[in-house]
């Protein structure tokens, strides 16, 4: 080791957890829908709320959700955060906006990122639409949705969103 080597100031301390993730019946249906370019939710038979991605039950009413509902791939930004720190697992150029999108027909927001839009224009109430990978690349994974992009529709007023945050 050369005498000129600078002192060690940092060390790598990686953590790695390897799981086998089993999606469950409801989320498996959702992922198979994604592979066909469709976003499938489930409606609660008691309160009527539509959950997407569905988990098979309504956490408020504690009842099984079996009725399948196809949601639009258009929606409204209900909240967002600007990401400026790189991550090896998110292959999106920095900086970018993480968003919760309330899809048309759904009652809970859906997590994704916004692209094709200057960051300073990302706002609550903005209308967006999913950008899918090419049809031949569709697969049962959320990576089939690349991101959301803005669409030319009027903003949704906050009052109409506040119950869905």
């Amino acid at each position: 080791m050369s005498e000129a080597a600078p002192p060690v100031k940092t060390i790598k301390t990686p953590m790695r957890l390897e799981f086998q993730y089993t999606a469950g019946v409801a989320t498996s249906r959702f992922l198979r829908g994604i592979a066909q370019g469709k976003i499938l939710g489930q409606r609660c038979p008691s309160c009527g709320k539509v959950y997407v991605p569905p988990r098979g039950s309504c956490p408020r009413c504690a009842v099984a959700t079996e009725q399948e509902v196809e949601c639009s791939d258009k929606g409204t930004v209900v909240t967002f955060a600007i990401v400026r720190v790189p991550s090896e697992s998110l292959d999106v150029p920095l900086p970018f906006a993480c968003v919760h999108v309330l899809l048309d027909g759904a009652d809970v927001p859906f997590f994704s990122v916004v692209q094709e839009c200057p960051l300073e224009q990302v706002r609550i109430g903005m209308r967006v639409q999913a950008v899918w990978v090419p049809k031949e690349e569709l697969a049962p994974t959320l990576q089939s949705i690349k991101w959301f992009r803005p669409i030319d529709e009027p903003d949704v007023p906050f009052e109409k969103l506040q119950e869905h945050l």
Binding site: M1, V8, T10, R16, Y21, T27, L40
Partner: protein, 154 residues
């Protein structure tokens, strides 16, 4: 609105959660890791006179900051306690069964955790002498010491 026309199976896939952290070690552990890169094991003397290895910034017995005297210890030492890892997992120090041991290096008053390549747990005992097996290439990390081995191994 659609209803599934068939009973669908459940999907399953590998899921890896990984945090690729790099952390600052501070001035005291910097001496320890820089020493490892040079194949030396460095401890620090407390104001009460004990030698801590790995070095710490404070004496856990008094809470006082340590002195600025760094001391080379080892490379040999004594096993204070150990546990056998019969089925090593990926990323553990050795791919074959080994022991995790608290090793008090010669000249140190505290023990450091490392792997001991003993082959068979029957060969291990508290008080056994060990020495480090260094990697061919050192970078300034704890696994510059590949593991410790028993001194009477051969």
């Amino acid at each position: 609105m659609t209803q599934p026309s068939e009973t669908l199976g459940v999907l399953s896939a590998p899921h890896v959660l990984e945090y690729p952290y790099r952390r600052s070690v501070g001035p005291v552990l910097s001496r320890f890791f820089t020493g490892l890169r040079e194949r030396r094991i460095v401890g620090v003397r407390t104001r009460a006179g004990r030698v801590l290895c790995p070095p710490a910034e404070a004496d856990s017995e008094t809470g006082a900051a340590v002195s600025d005297e760094f001391v080379e210890v080892g490379p040999g030492g004594v096993i204070e306690s150990w546990t056998w890892v019969a089925r090593p997992r990926p990323k553990q120090p050795l791919a074959r069964p080994f022991a995790y041991a608290l090793i008090r290096l010669d000249g140190a008053d505290t023990a450091m955790l490392h792997a001991v390549d003993a082959g068979d747990p029957a060969r291990l005992r508290t008080g056994a002498r060990v020495r480090p097996r260094w990697r061919a290439e050192t970078v300034g990390a704890i696994d510059d010491i590949e593991c410790f081995e028993l001194e009477d191994a051969r």
